[in-house]
């Protein structure tokens, strides 16, 4: 049977107070927004009959974002502009959608496909030096992995492939850090985890952060070293 459904990709941001939502809370809220929008969303055939929607990779609690995505399966093709307006009207503004477009119905799941992230991190602390932060991060990359705790569970993330690049800039209030990361099925490197490790290195011994603001400013798909935009109309997915 031909699949007569449509896959709408939606970009949204996460800001204001809602930065403090966890991933599950975001998913719940977005799903309820979609229901409120009145769009003809498709429901799965499974036991629980859930809405067919996929999300890009989880954003940590407390992190802001300028570019999060979900793919929503619709039963009917609704004009993208109209769909976006309906979604906007039904979503909390701090999780506001700002772009929507149809993408091929078949294609890899968003979560795995968008495997590159750019982060802007503000590390506040009057005495902080950009060079020291840079050195600290280099030392962590060098070490090849970070052992850390998530809740009370010990975790490990390797840093050679997951940490792509970084650039620290000195500011009056501290250090502005641009960070590129890559995720794989082995995991994703979270900026907070990287910085906690960096501040444990010798380069940053005794350095004090008063606060830290993490914002994901974009996500891409990496294909043979090239970065593909989530809405790139010219990109044809290699279906494997």
């Amino acid at each position: 049977m031909a699949d007569e459904t449509f896959r709408l990709r939606v970009a949204y941001r996460k800001d204001g107070r809602l930065a403090y939502l966890g991933h599950l809370e975001v998913i719940n809220t977005v799903e309820r927004s979609i229901r409120r929008s009145g769009l003809p969303f498709s429901v799965g055939n499974g036991f629980a009959r859930r809405m067919r929607v996929q999300f890009s990779q989880a954003l940590p609690v407390g992190a802001f974002s300028e570019g999060e995505y979900y793919d929503l399966v619709l039963e009917e093709e609704v004009d993208t502009h109209e769909a976006l307006e309906l979604l906007k009207a039904a979503s909390p503004s701090a999780l506001g959608p700002y772009r929507a477009a149809y993408v091929p119905r078949r294609g890899p799941a968003l979560e795995a496909w968008l495997n590159r992230s750019l982060w802007q991190v503000e590390i506040h602390g009057e005495e902080l030096s950009a060079d020291a932060v840079s050195e600290g991060i280099a030392a962590v990359k060098e070490a090849g992995k970070i052992d850390f705790m998530r809740g009370d569970k010990p975790r490990t993330i390797e840093t050679v492939t997951t940490l792509v690049s970084w650039e620290a800039t000195q500011e009056a209030w501290g250090v502005a850090l641009a960070l590129e990361t890559r995720s794989s099925n082995l995991g994703a490197l979270r900026p907070a985890v990287l910085l906690d490790a960096a501040f444990g290195t010798e380069a940053l011994a005794g350095a004090v952060r008063s606060s830290q603001r993490v914002c994901r400013s974009g996500q891409w798909h990496e294909e043979n070293g090239r970065l593909v935009e989530p809405f790139d109309a010219n990109f044809t997915w290699s279906l494997t």
């Binding site: 107070r17 939502l21 719940n28 809220t29 409120r36």
Partner: protein, 627 residues
């Protein structure tokens, strides 16, 4: 002292990254009322964690009514979890409202929901965190006026030292009138004492400070309350009661939380009140009469509520949803209208008969989770004592029907320590579970693969005021433990899982249910010793409660087990849900004789006194007779 009204979110924000579930403190949920211009400001508080308080329908109703009233704004507040309250105290941040992050101590009126007895120390904690004097008598002229109300306001005496006014019964209408009384009195330059006086004139409002407690030979050791000399207040304050549910907003829940909460679904109240007359059940006595919401309104409300909230589940809530005279048609109609939308309908409680099972089947589609029944007692004799009008046959038929319709897991609720209970009754709990399991095996088949199992959950009976068992003492805790043990040992089947409630929590609950005004010393003492979030098993501190009791010269376990004389004046009789003492006594005698009393919505009036006392009637949409 009243704190200035100002947005203090900036002080809270740095703490968010350090606590569990920051979503508890964010506000800005879909549907929250952001316009908070007042100029008269009320803050409604459910003194427990956000995820427990947010689904409360009562608060939703009052929130909407107040915000709709001219010149009045209403915000919400929940009790920060222990991690957050510690950080707030350390940082000098007082308790803040959600909508505007204003100090709770800046509001004109602060209202508490008394959802259950075990919320007592949380109310002390809330006031303390807010910086509002805990005792009403210590408050300044301009401090907030503190209201309380809700299901556990029957016997509010042990807590009423903290309240300026207690609102009895249905809050619709009453809350706005009470808030307006405060506003108007304040505007006229009234003193605090005059404001309270004005409040006492609002129907259904009890102002504790206008009553004295008298202890004499006609009372228990806790005495009884009488109007203070010269105070022009009624001897008995009767609850407010709306005669017709259809005039109330059928979708009070407009807000959609971000975080997962208990009961994370749309709730439509399909009826209020239950007249089955179970003799242990306080809600059954205090929410009378029965008022059904009409079929069309329920169905439209469900559809509209789902559309505006985006929930994917709607619960038809009430004390006994399957008793609604149009239950079957409601479910049919909902199924027609909601088909294909990935929406679930749920009903919270099933009747213990085949009809109940059919209704459960109607809402569950192809899903077959566990099915819950509440026989409450193991033998027919004891079920007659408590007036649980179900028979052995009902249970067996319901179980057979359920297994035949595809259910595999059955859950049975019982109570332990009911008046007149013997070891035979206790052993009958295990036997009933065995019988249900046996029926399951007969229908589905034996062996591990059949998946048939029965879980039994046994709570400890707590005598509650305004029930026919209000004079009873609780079964002493050692005896509870012996009987629990007896029950567990009698079970040899590994497909029967028996769990029971912590008897210690029940002791505290019973003590709080029995005490009078002087009982506040216990609550305060327990709070001083670190008790809060007592309804959370991992936070409950029994030893501290016992110690608080000892400090005031009472043995909590003895107090819980103490019976009251049938002729004694009781500590709570000056506030009334309308049910007459004569009826309760008669029911108590009938219980002792094992004689049952029928449900007035299915037969005829049994004389509980509520309708004449309040000038209302049962309001049944269809016909319940012969069901």
């Amino acid at each position: 002292m009243r704190l200035p009204r100002q947005d203090r979110y900036a002080e809270l924000e740095p703490l968010l990254a350090k606590v569990e579930h920051p979503a508890r403190y964010l506000d800005h949920e879909w549907g929250a009322v952001e316009q908070q211009d007042g100029p008269f400001h009320v803050c409604m508080i459910y003194a427990d964690a956000y995820e427990v308080g947010q689904p409360n329908l009562g608060i939703a109703i009052l929130y909407n009514e107040l915000n709709a009233a001219e010149g009045i704004s209403c915000e919400r507040c929940y009790l920060p979890w222990v991690d957050m309250s510690a950080l707030m105290r350390e940082a000098g941040v007082p308790l803040l409202s959600l909508e505007t992050s204003s100090p709770v101590a800046s509001f004109d009126v602060v209202g508490f929901t008394l959802a259950h007895e075990m919320i007592a120390t949380n109310i002390v904690e809330t006031l303390d965190l807010a910086g509002i004097p805990i005792r009403a008598e210590d408050r300044d002229e301009d401090d907030a006026i503190i209201f309380a109300g809700g299901p556990s306001a029957w016997n509010c005496e042990p807590l009423c030292a903290m309240f300026d006014a207690v609102l009895l019964g249905d809050g619709e209408g009453e809350i706005v009138e009470a808030a307006q009384a405060v506003r108007d009195a304040r505007a006229a330059g009234a003193t605090r004492a005059e404001v309270l006086k004005a409040l006492s004139k609002v129907r259904g409002v009890y102002v504790p400070s206008l009553y004295d407690v008298v202890v004499d030979e006609t009372s228990t050791r806790w005495g009884y309350a009488v109007p203070k000399p010269g105070a022009d207040v009624p001897e008995v304050v009767y609850k407010r009661c709306i005669p017709d549910l259809s005039v109330t907003d059928p979708v009070p829940q407009k807000m959609v939380p971000y975080m997962g909460i208990v009961q994370d679904r749309l709730a439509i109240e399909v009826l209020r009140g239950c007249a089955r007359g179970c003799r242990f059940c306080q809600a059954g006595m205090t929410y009378r009469p029965v008022r059904e919401r009409p079929l069309e309104q329920v169905v439209d409300a469900a559809e509209q509520g789902l559309r505006t909230t985006g929930y994917d589940e709607v619960s038809l809530s009430s004390l006994s949803t399957t008793d609604h005279s149009q239950c079957e048609q409601i479910l049919l109609r909902l199924d027609e209208r909601l088909r294909g939308k990935g929406v679930r309908v749920s009903i919270p409680s099933q009747r213990l008969d085949s009809f109940g099972v059919d209704m459960a089947a109607a809402v569950s589609g192809s899903r077959r989770g566990g099915l819950t029944f509440a026989p409450e007692a193991g033998t027919q004799r004891l079920r007659d004592v408590i007036n649980k009008n179900v028979t052995e046959d009902d249970l067996e038929r319901a179980a057979r029907n359920a297994f035949e319709l595809g259910w595999r897991r059955m859950k049975l609720y019982f109570m332990m320590g009911l008046p007149t209970e013997t070891d035979d009754d206790v052993l009958a709990i295990t036997a009933a579970a065995r019988r249900v399991l046996e029926i399951g095996r007969e229908v589905v088949g034996r062996g591990y693969k059949s998946g048939v199992s029965v879980s039994v959950s046994v709570s400890v009976f707590v005598p509650k005021c305004f029930t026919p068992f209000q004079w009873c003492g609780q079964l002493p805790i050692d005896e509870v433990r012996r009987r629990q043990d007896l029950m567990i040992r009698a079970n040899r089947d590994r497909d029967i899982h028996i769990s029971y409630h912590d008897a210690q929590v029940s002791v505290v609950e019973a003590a709080l249910s029995k005490m009078g005004r002087a009982g506040f010393e216990l609550v305060y003492g327990a709070w001083q010793r670190g008790c809060r979030f007592d309804a959370w098993t991992d936070q409950f501190k029994y030893e501290q409660w016992l110690e608080a009791g000892r400090a005031m010269g009472i043995d909590l376990e003895e107090l819980a087990a103490e019976p009251y004389d049938l002729e004694a004046r009781l500590p709570w009789e000056h506030t009334s849900p309308g049910v007459s003492k004569g009826f309760l006594k008669r029911e108590w005698r009938r219980a002792a004789e094992g004689v049952t009393t029928s449900d007035c919505t299915m037969t005829s009036c049994v004389g509980c006194g509520v309708c004449p006392a309040l000038g209302v009637d049962n309001h049944i949409e269809g016909d319940r007779h012969g069901r």
